[in-house]
């Protein structure tokens, strides 16, 4: 791996053998995260964005199989882990989780233990990974709560999750996730359940922590506004594949995949008159048992070329740092104007 790399996924597959057939939830995903950058991953439900993140943490459901692909990870400490080779319960992965990779989830109420105070939950993590004493761990928990701007941290350390509001719970979860100074934070829809005002506070906090602690973030969301706000680079997923990866500006102002373009057009935007009807993507995401042949997006694509798009899977085409998995991506190369104007 190049020296600036933190995490590299290469052709990762996650399949679910079900009675109804084989579901290829993640079907050959490759991406990387550099040290200290924010990678946004967007996609609709069922695109495989969360499952990919869980594959990194080895937190996949037991019935999932990962027939190919490698996930390499090199945290700040320098040693390199081949995460894809680790067993979900191995000693090595338990060191990586919590210590080198923190994770925050959409619903803090289900991710935090309801029967322990948030202080206890943070203390256990730092006692385990950092070998601190109880008293030192409690100090650290209070510091962490202060760092995530929890009001009255010295008292809140003894609060149970149900005593906190949604925004405060999310702060507690962030405190827990960063408790061991991880090199990577995986944030899976962390603001989806929050109000816009609270969302803005949490995004601000994450940006601040990211620059302070120098950690990288994989930020999974379906909200293009959020990703525009926080990400340095963005990957767009559709039906288990990465269809486009580029810098945040290229994704929003020069998208080279018809799916990205169509998604951007269908969001109602403040201050932009989009006419009476919103442009939509025809049809719906196909069910995972009958993924179309060729490019999975071809039945819904306005630029579909018969005989090509419905037959062969498009290769990953590179345009500088921009990757598009579209047969006719060159055609969009000239687009410089924002796609929505």
């Amino acid at each position: 791996m190049p020296p600036e790399r933190l995490l590299e996924l290469d052709n990762v597959h996650v399949h679910f053998p079900l009675r109804e057939g084989l579901v290829k939830a993640v079907n050959g995903v490759s991406y990387h995260v550099n040290k200290g950058e924010v990678l946004g991953i967007v996609g609709e439900s069922g695109s495989g964005k969360s499952i990919t993140a869980r594959a990194i943490m080895r937190l996949l459901p037991k019935r999932a199989v990962a027939p190919e692909g490698s996930i390499r990870f090199r945290p700040r400490s320098g040693e390199q882990y081949e995460l894809s080779a680790l067993d979900r319960n191995s000693r090595a992965i338990r060191q990586v989780r919590g210590q080198h990779i923190g994770m925050i989830f959409q619903e803090p109420m289900t991710a935090l233990s309801p029967v322990h105070t948030i202080g206890t939950q943070i203390m256990r993590t730092v006692q385990l990974h950092k070998g601190l004493s109880r008293a030192a761990a409690r100090e650290r928990a209070i510091d962490l709560l202060a760092k995530v701007q929890m009001p009255r941290p010295a008292q809140m350390v003894d609060a149970f999750p149900h005593q906190l509001s949604g925004g405060m719970r999310q702060r507690a979860m962030i405190a827990l996730a960063i408790s061991c100074d991880p090199s990577l934070l995986i944030a899976d829809e962390p603001t989806t359940a929050l109000d816009v005002t609270t969302e803005a506070q949490i995004l601000e906090l994450l940006k601040q922590l990211q620059s302070e602690l120098g950690m990288a973030i994989i930020f999974i969301t379906h909200n293009f506004g959020v990703v525009a706000d926080i990400a340095d680079r963005v990957s767009v997923m559709y039906l288990g594949r990465m269809v486009e990866t580029a810098t945040v500006d290229d994704i929003f102002y020069a998208p080279k995949h018809p799916y990205t373009q169509a998604l951007l057009r269908s969001i109602p935007r403040l201050g932009v008159d989009q006419g009476r009807r919103l442009p939509t993507i025809p049809g719906m995401v196909p069910d995972p048992f009958s993924v179309p042949s060729g490019c999975a997006f071809n039945p819904r694509c306005a630029h579909m070329v018969p005989g090509l798009c419905d037959v062969t899977v498009p290769p990953e085409k590179m345009f500088g740092l921009q990757m598009s998995r579209c047969h006719i991506a060159e055609q969009f190369a000239a687009v410089q104007e924002p796609a929505h104007v």
Binding site: G225, S266, M284, H340
Partner: protein
């Protein structure tokens, strides 16, 4: 006491379909082992609102602001504590439904319907589409099976589902399709007024856009009037003709959509708009975004004076002492702020 003087009972301006006046909903708090009544949660505290025939009125605000409660009160799903709800029936007669008994209310329910947020919990998984969409007709006295099944098939077609799906169960459908089933059910009795409570919030971007277009088509086709509740300001700007902004059980501002977004008059409206991250990375970098501090207050113990004053960047001593009234200002707009005329606030639209 209502801020806007109520005209004599059961009259409405000609262009108004539904009007609520001085609406209040208090939930009692009981404490101690005697469960004595120690106070009230003022979920809705003096809301007055007119919805005009054929328009879409958007209602926005944070969770806990009372937007859903207003909708549920308007449909009499909750008992109101105080206030008037005037509704113009299809016959043209205006009735005050706040005082009607359940039995008297029943025929009106055909004219006022609701679409819910969660397409999973709002459809009974043991009922087929025929039963789900046909149930309102059965309840309202139609027992002709053939007629019901024809009508359901027609409704499914109207919302873009295939009539052959009649005998399927909801589990066979995606979230967006389930939402359409909910819409078909709401349409079953030819209502004139539909309250859509976060009707597209649970859906993916592309599906939400399809369903929003469907709602707009139906509005045109059947002359529907919508109360559209959402926390998505981009969505409300797209669909609503006028928008009401709620905070802690009170209406803070009501304005035509364009004016609200270009020229908000209430600091809370400005703060809400500033908080929305835009799908525009360059714009986000240059836009001044000061996140609103703190969280919405506890409705059981609201702040004195203007309920927004602890979070308001423009608050002055008067704001904590005196409750501002929802008052009319220039251009027929309504705002609940002492200093609406003096502040020059920034909207989301240049």
């Amino acid at each position: 006491m209502s801020d806007i003087p109520a005209t004599s009972a059961a009259t409405l301006p000609d262009d108004v379909l539904v009007s609520v006046r001085g609406l209040k909903k208090y939930f009692p708090i009981h404490a101690g082992w005697l469960k004595r009544h120690v106070g009230n949660v003022k979920a809705i505290d003096d809301v007055s609102l007119d919805i005009r025939t054929g328009e879409t009125l958007g209602l926005v605000g944070e969770s806990g602001s009372g937007k859903s409660t207003v909708a549920r009160l308007m449909l009499r799903a909750y008992e109101l504590s105080e206030g008037q709800i005037l509704f113009r029936r299809a016959s043209g007669k205006v009735v005050d439904i706040s005082a009607l008994s359940d039995r008297e209310m029943r025929p009106l329910r055909a004219e006022m319907q609701m679409i819910f947020q969660d397409p999973y919990s709002s459809l009974n998984p043991r009922m087929t589409l025929l039963e789900l969409v046909g149930e309102p007709m059965v309840i309202h006295g139609n027992s002709n099976r053939g007629e019901i099944s024809d009508r359901v098939a027609e409704l499914l077609k109207v919302v873009g589902l295939r009539p052959e799906f009649l005998n399927r169960y909801p589990h066979a459908f995606s979230g967006g399709q389930r939402q359409r089933i909910g819409i078909a059910r709401a349409l079953a009795l030819n209502p004139s007024f539909i309250a859509a409570d976060e009707a597209v919030s649970a859906l993916d971007v592309s599906v939400a856009a399809q369903n929003i277009n469907l709602l707009q088509d139906l509005q045109e086709q059947f002359g529907l009037t919508y109360l559209f509740i959402t926390h998505d300001l981009g969505m409300v700007e797209h669909i609503a003709d006028r928008v009401g902004v709620m905070y802690l059980g009170r209406m803070m501002e009501v304005a035509p959509t364009e004016q609200l977004f270009s020229n908000p008059l209430h600091p809370y409206t400005e703060a809400l708009m500033a908080a929305v991250p835009q799908p525009d990375p360059r714009g986000n970098r240059t836009r001044k975004r000061v996140p609103l501090k703190g969280e919405i207050a506890n409705a059981a113990n609201p702040p004195s004076g203007c309920s927004f004053h602890p979070r308001c960047p423009y608050a002055q001593p008067r704001c904590s002492a005196e409750v501002p009234a929802l008052r009319e200002v220039a251009g027929g707009r309504q705002v609940r702020c002492h200093f609406a005329e003096e502040l020059s606030l920034v909207g989301a639209v240049a």
